[in-house]
Subunit: 143 residues, 2 copies
């Protein structure tokens, strides 16, 4: 399993917010109930989204969260990289500043780079608005 609950839940929260993107702020408790995810756990996820200005929070009565941008301006790849702390398929491609000592003789790096490209291209093609629309397709197959 390549993507953890953090990335998956974050997307679900953003879609939920986009769908209830009406007047004011949305309480996290409401999202938690609709999505059937622990509110406390969602807090730690939303905190990350707030810090990166994908979502805006307002405390106090009538407070809650709302999207900081339009759904079609939120790129899925950005959200996933943020929540997962990068999505490089191998350590060698995490730009940690240090070069792998075996890079000259490495026979697999090229392959990993290609995989990284393929993943990046796919996840950066989708926005939160795109995910909302998948509903229409009626994806009620058995997994």
């Amino acid at each position: 399993m390549l993507i953890s609950t953090k990335g998956r839940y974050a997307l679900r929260v953003l879609i939920d917010m986009a769908e209830h993107n009406g007047t004011g702020y949305i309480k996290l408790m409401d999202i938690a109930q609709r999505q059937e995810i622990s509110e406390k756990y969602l807090e730690s996820i939303v905190k990350e989204l707030v810090r990166n200005n994908i979502v805006t929070g307002l405390r106090g009565k009538g407070g809650g969260y709302r999207l900081s941008k339009e759904p079609d301006d939120i790129i899925v790849g950005d959200v996933l990289r943020l929540m997962e702390g990068g999505l490089a398929p191998v350590v060698c491609l995490e730009n940690s500043g240090k070069t792998c000592p075996r890079v000259a003789e490495c026979r697999t790096l090229e392959f990993w780079r290609g995989l990284d490209d393929v993943i990046r291209q796919y996840i950066d093609r989708y926005t939160v608005a795109d995910l909302m629309r998948t509903e229409e397709n009626g994806n009620d197959y058995i997994i």
Copy 2:
């Protein structure tokens, strides 16, 4: 980082075996030294490759390992799925027999399926023979 050392090391071992695919069997100690990986750790990886008939072992003096098939018959995707225990991007796509209760209302499943496809298509396009050839390209860039 999506792929662990098990998957990465397994590929390096297979490439190493393919490159030294001469007369007889190759000692794991030799591979370990060339690849600068602990021999004991490699054992646990190669054991998995033996069990799945990708590699054949022979014990005793003059023993070692060799590929069970030709390098271009070993698909990288098969090796990775084996070593990583599946490569589904999310739990929902691991065919564990049970259906997600939220499948009907899930807005992200379609997206994850697409990601799974893209990854699968890429890694199943490569064989160990392909990886050997990347040497010629001279991939001496800085990461």
